[in-house]
């Protein structure tokens, strides 16, 4: 068969293949795998709605006729988890907003301006990329303590923003590099300042990059555990993951499964909702290979 013939026959062949046994095999395998990934998460949700006597039993004991929100009521009333959810929201939204501002500015500066020391700036961001926060946990604690930023959500937001910077700066730098230079020049000719250019002219073009940066920062800070565990001290300041750890370990020997399972779902839902509604940006951002640690 000639090359031309192969190309011409292709659309038909592919169409037929799409419904052939290979397609059904693919669908079967992919669906089975999907169940492996979804069922544990779905089961965690189902468990949290079981009456507390059943919440601590294996799946056979599950009872879907007496679903109850008693666990949620108890975890809010007994464990005062509202405070911790609010703390987590403050940390996550604060980090997302601050990251958007800082990364937009830095990305714009690095992509569109050449200035003295831009090499050093880029190198220092690369260096930050290589240093995991785990490695500076102890000096960071001493420093924050000295600055009165331990047991403080502000301190947490600053640190979270710093360690999600490398990713965000790269994403925003790539975003701005794709903006045509003429657009910025014409805005300058019209007399728009840097801020105006960013807010008015470039906003629609950089929105996808901004969304990627914001989701990454939000998910990072919403699920972060070790820094929150180290830097936060009093119950009223704890973020949700540290609170869940308290629930797991405080009652000696016995874990209150009702509290823990409803807390898990509360921690899980914002991630899933945000991901499913904005996954186009997030998945695209990660797939483009922008992830660097």
């Amino acid at each position: 068969m000639s090359a031309a013939g192969a190309t011409a026959a292709r659309p038909v062949a592919r169409h037929r293949r799409a419904r052939g046994p290979a397609f059904w095999a693919y669908l079967f395998v992919a669906t089975a795998l999907a169940l492996v990934f979804v069922v544990p998460l779905a089961w965690a949700v189902a468990r949290s709605f079981q009456p507390s006597t059943l919440a601590s039993q294996h799946p056979q004991g599950a009872d879907f006729t007496h679903l109850t929100i008693a666990n949620y009521r108890a975890v809010f009333a007994q464990e005062h988890i509202t405070r911790n959810v609010i703390n987590s929201l403050i940390a996550a939204i604060g980090t997302a907003v601050l990251s958007m501002v800082v990364c937009t500015m830095a990305g714009y500066g690095l992509a569109k301006f050449r200035f003295r020391g831009s090499g050093i700036v880029f190198a220092s961001i690369l260096l930050a990329l290589m240093i995991p926060f785990q490695a500076v946990l102890t000096p960071l604690f001493i420093e924050l303590n000295y600055l009165h930023l331990t047991n403080s959500l502000l301190g947490l937001v600053l640190v979270y923003t710093t360690f999600s910077l490398p990713f965000g700066v790269f994403v925003m730098r790539n975003t701005f590099q794709q903006v045509p230079a003429e657009l910025i020049e014409s805005a300058e000719v019209d007399g728009a300042g840097v801020v105006n250019t960013l807010l008015r002219v470039l906003r629609p073009l950089i929105l996808p990059g901004l969304a990627t940066t914001a989701i990454y920062a939000f998910l990072y800070s919403w699920t972060e555990f070790l820094q929150a565990l180290t830097f936060l001290e009093t119950d009223g300041k704890l973020t949700l993951p540290v609170k869940l750890f308290d629930i797991e370990t405080s009652t000696y020997g016995t874990i209150n499964y009702g509290y823990l399972s409803s807390g898990i779902v509360i921690a899980m839902v914002p991630c899933i909702v945000l991901y499913l509604s904005l996954q186009r940006y997030y998945v695209q951002g990660l797939m483009s290979g922008a992830v660097k640690g």
């Binding site: 192969a6 799409a18 693919y26 669908l27 395998v29 992919a30 795998l33 999907a34 979804v38 998460l41 089961w43 965690a44 039993q57 294996h58 056979q60 800082v102 990364c103 500015m105 500066g109 831009s118 700036v121 880029f122 220092s124 260096l127 930050a128 290589m130 240093i131 995991p132 785990q134 490695a135 500076v136 946990l137 102890t138 000096p139 604690f141 001493i142 420093e143 600053l158 923003t161 710093t162 360690f163 790269f170 998910l219 699920t223 972060e224 555990f225 070790l226 180290t230 797991e248 370990t249 874990i255 499964y257 807390g263 898990i264 921690a267 991630c271 899933i272 998945v283 290979g289 992830v291």
Partner: protein, 279 residues
């Protein structure tokens, strides 16, 4: 330049300064509260003769060695399965990535419940499948805890590998495969001669991310097996030494050791990615 100064200020304040400070702290007996003394290299000397530290390093390397290949192979398999973008591929890709989005912290709490000997679903499922007859205290014994945590981590992390490899696969020109088809190349030959070489960068990236992630493991071991000393990772040791034993100086010496190891792996990452970021 005004635009980059906030980013630089944050990095200087919370990365570069602590890093320099760490070198100084590691030469002292810095306690959590109270005065400290300069003690020279004593922390480092103690570190290299500390059996518990050696155990943590060996254990962390072992754990990294165990999970890296499965994460990569499962992620690669998932990416291959969805490569041709058949109907539903997008939805499946979204689903396979879900555990990663939920985060390892929440996942670990989930398995605190599910790994319980009598009430967890893992035991129940295994006995239903006739894979195990007796109940198992998963997180108590070393081998079973390591096995359980490794499986959880593969389940959690393979979605990220899948996404990175998918990104790489989409960059391979379709014409290459079509040309190979014309030449009558087998599937295996196409994979070995086209996909793998052109995917080199994505493969390296996904491996480096997963190796660094494994080496910094903390959440899953701390949440699921914090009382089991045989499962102590390097980062767990740093945390315990610094904030349970209040020996910040000693913990920092260990953290600098971590910087060196991560630095070596990151240099690899840097070299692999350099051509792309046009430095």
């Amino acid at each position: 330049m005004v635009l980059v100064s906030p980013a630089c200020a944050l990095i200087a304040a919370f990365v570069l300064f602590p890093l320099a400070f760490a070198v100084y702290i590691s030469l002292t007996d810095w306690p959590l509260i109270g005065p400290y003394h300069y003690i020279g290299l004593a922390n480092y000397r103690e570190l290299f003769s500390d059996p518990q530290f050696r155990h943590a390093v060996v254990f962390t390397f072992t754990y990294t060695a165990i999970v890296t290949a499965p994460i990569f192979l499962v992620g690669y398999g998932l990416a291959l399965l969805l490569r041709s973008n058949r109907p539903g591929a997008k939805i499946f890709r979204t689903i396979y990535f879900l555990p990663f989005v939920v985060g390892l912290t929440t996942i670990s709490f989930m398995f605190v419940i599910e790994l319980q000997p009598n009430s967890g679903s893992v035991d129940w499922l295994l006995s239903r499948l006739h894979l195990a007859s007796s109940t198992q205290a998963w997180t108590v014994t070393h081998d079973s805890a390591l096995l359980a945590i490794s499986v959880i981590v593969v389940w959690f992390a393979s979605g990220l590998t899948m996404l990175i490899l998918t990104g790489g696969m989409q960059g391979i020109p379709r014409e290459l495969y079509e040309a190979a088809d014309v030449d009558g190349a087998s599937w295996l030959k196409k994979e070995l001669r086209i996909t793998l070489p052109l995917l080199r960068r994505s493969i390296a990236l996904s491996l480096i991310i997963s190796v660094i992630g494994s080496f910094l493991a903390f959440n899953q071991f701390f949440i699921l097996a914090q009382n089991n000393v045989s499962l102590e990772t390097v980062v767990e040791w740093i945390y315990q030494t610094g904030f349970s034993s209040y020996r910040l100086g000693y913990a920092t010496a260990m953290a600098l050791f971590l910087v060196v190891i991560i630095g070596i792996v990151s240099m690899g990452q840097f070299l692999v990615l350099r051509d792309e970021t046009e430095l």
